[in-house]
Amino acid sequence: MAHNNWYNTNTYRSYPFLEGSVNQPPSGPLTLLNLPNEVIVDCGFVFTCRSGFSYENHRVFLKEIKRVSNDVFTFTFSNDIPNFSGYPLVFTRDYSVYSSATSGGTNYIIEYQQSDDYIFDLSTSNCNEPIWYGFLVTGKLESLLTLLPNVGDTFTNTPDSTIVEPTLIQNNSQSYVTSINIANKDRTRATAPPGCPPITWPFPIGQTYVKRKCLGKKVCFVPGYNCDIKCYKNTIQCSAIKGSGLGEPCSEIPLFPEEVDILSTLSSLSGAELCNSVLLSINGISARLFNFYNGGGVIITPKPSEHKVVINVNMHEGEKCYGSS
């Protein structure tokens, strides 16, 4: 007994759609529920890492068939993943090509599409990674000529129409690394001492500053200042070792190019005073509370309200040899 082949068999059943979601008898305005089985005989879709697809929660469906010109139809597939439903896969069929290529049997046309052209968030680079891609195999298109008689006519979907069998979907969500990106959290910013006016910044602080997005396929780690990188089998180990890598930096490393503009008004990128701009020691002596003691022949008078220390050498109580008993 001769058996039907795969595509041919599918022209007589709902596949690749769920049973009951296609080929239903018309009752009212035509929708994709009434799409004949013979039009689409196979399809398949692959969701990429960034898609967030879930077999349990999301579906793929044929959203629309439109007659865009006398001979050309478009087949629009969509999904119900939040944020991605606006980025369909659109397949195109030219009936004139299809019919001329048909000779005595059905001409099955296979077409691949991917959503490269769709960037889901303009503020985020998609690193040239499509959200999803797929293929469509159409069967007999003659019925579309009568169901969509005029240019611009469309078949639209209903919530239960033309739902793709879930096993025709390959879900690669979160299955691999889409891109490597680098950024830096803000440095600790100085604050003004009590009683002083606050430091004003010409840019928002406390942010995470993006350095580079979508690094290429081959990425290497480079030891910078005070950094040593070693590789043990499949482990990359970074160590903070003073003087290793590029050595010690001579100046602060800006987090973003515009940050250096603040050096015209502040001592450092963090807004803090530099070591050489504040008094740390006198005569090499460093103390949290530095004391001036008066020896013989000298009177030291503090005047805190005037921020002043008066050293008066009056010679009246001098010693012959200071320090001798």
Partner: protein, 276 residues
């Protein structure tokens, strides 16, 4: 006269066949546990690092769930799916690997047939490849070497998708391009993306970690010396130091003495007129 459906629907066609298991699958293990033909009607299995001859390797029955493991010639537990016996029942059994990455789907004929697994009895039911091999067309193993799949942290956390390396607390990341000569490809050079790791420390770490109690000190930046000849502004040198000297342009033997102590200076005078 019996009626025959010429073109049965896809799921109906598979309902009473071994599919998605292979034609050669015995559908029973050595202990006589039988996998019903109508347990599943379709599947797609795509674990990362999967190999040929994928099969249902183990079914663990617990009081509230069944855990199905899928293996292949390389590993007995390549991925797994869970069928709950209560709550939200579904005919879909989502598969995932050890890191929670999607690994496919087993499509049950209906939820009741999946619930019938509970009748196998609690415990672990093992199968061999010959018992429960899947058809090749439902298996799409993904190569494990197809680029970086993810980063695993020491605590086992798995990171994938758009991965961000973020410098913080004195670590600053930078970007450079690195020219690399490939000795295996006629010395051709290629340009790599380089992530530079700078460890510069956080000079204001006290402020960061003691934010509630830290008060910015009011530093002394200069000292004004007022004398008989006017005033001088002293600023620190590169080390933040200011030096006071005792000298006299008119006399090389100045009576003024500056004696350093642990936390300050003693300013005094020695004089022949004030002997002991």
């Amino acid at each position: 006269m019996s009626e025959r459906i010429l073109y049965p629907e896809w799921r109906d066609q598979n309902r009473d066949t071994k599919y998605p298991f292979s034609d050669s699958a015995k559908m029973r293990n050595r202990h006589g546990v039988v996998i019903p033909n109508n347990l599943f009607v379709d599947a797609i299995i795509h674990p990362i690092g999967g190999r040929e001859r994928m099969y249902l390797s183990k079914v663990i029955i617990q009081y509230d769930r069944a855990i199905l493991f899928i293996g292949d010639v390389g590993a007995r537990e390549r991925c797994f799916g869970i069928i709950p016996f209560s709550g939200n029942l579904s005919d879909k059994v989502e598969l995932q690997d050890q890191f929670g990455r999607p690994a496919g789907l087993l499509l049950g004929s209906d939820t009741n047939n999946l619930l019938n697994l509970a009748s196998w009895g609690q415990g672990s039911h093992e199968f061999d490849i010959e018992d429960s091999e899947f058809c090749a067309n439902v298996c799409i193993p993904l190569p494990v070497n197809g680029g970086i799949r993810g980063f695993i942290l020491e605590d086992g956390t798995y990171v994938s998708g758009d991965v961000w390396f973020v410098g913080e607390n004195g670590v600053i990341l930078d970007y450079v391009t690195v020219e690399r000569r490939d000795f295996t490809a006629d010395n051709q050079t290629e340009t790599l993306d380089g992530i530079v790791i700078n460890v510069v420390g956080d000079p204001l770490f006290k402020r960061k970690f003691c934010d509630n109690v830290f008060q910015t000190p009011r530093f002394i930046k200069k000292i004004k010396v007022i004398g008989p000849n006017g005033q001088i502004i002293l600023t620190p040198d590169l080390q933040g130091n200011i030096n006071f000297y005792t000298s006299n342009r008119l006399s090389s033997d100045s009576p003024l003495r500056l004696i350093g102590t642990e936390n300050g200076i003693i300013v005094g005078v020695v004089s022949p007129y004030h002997g002991p």
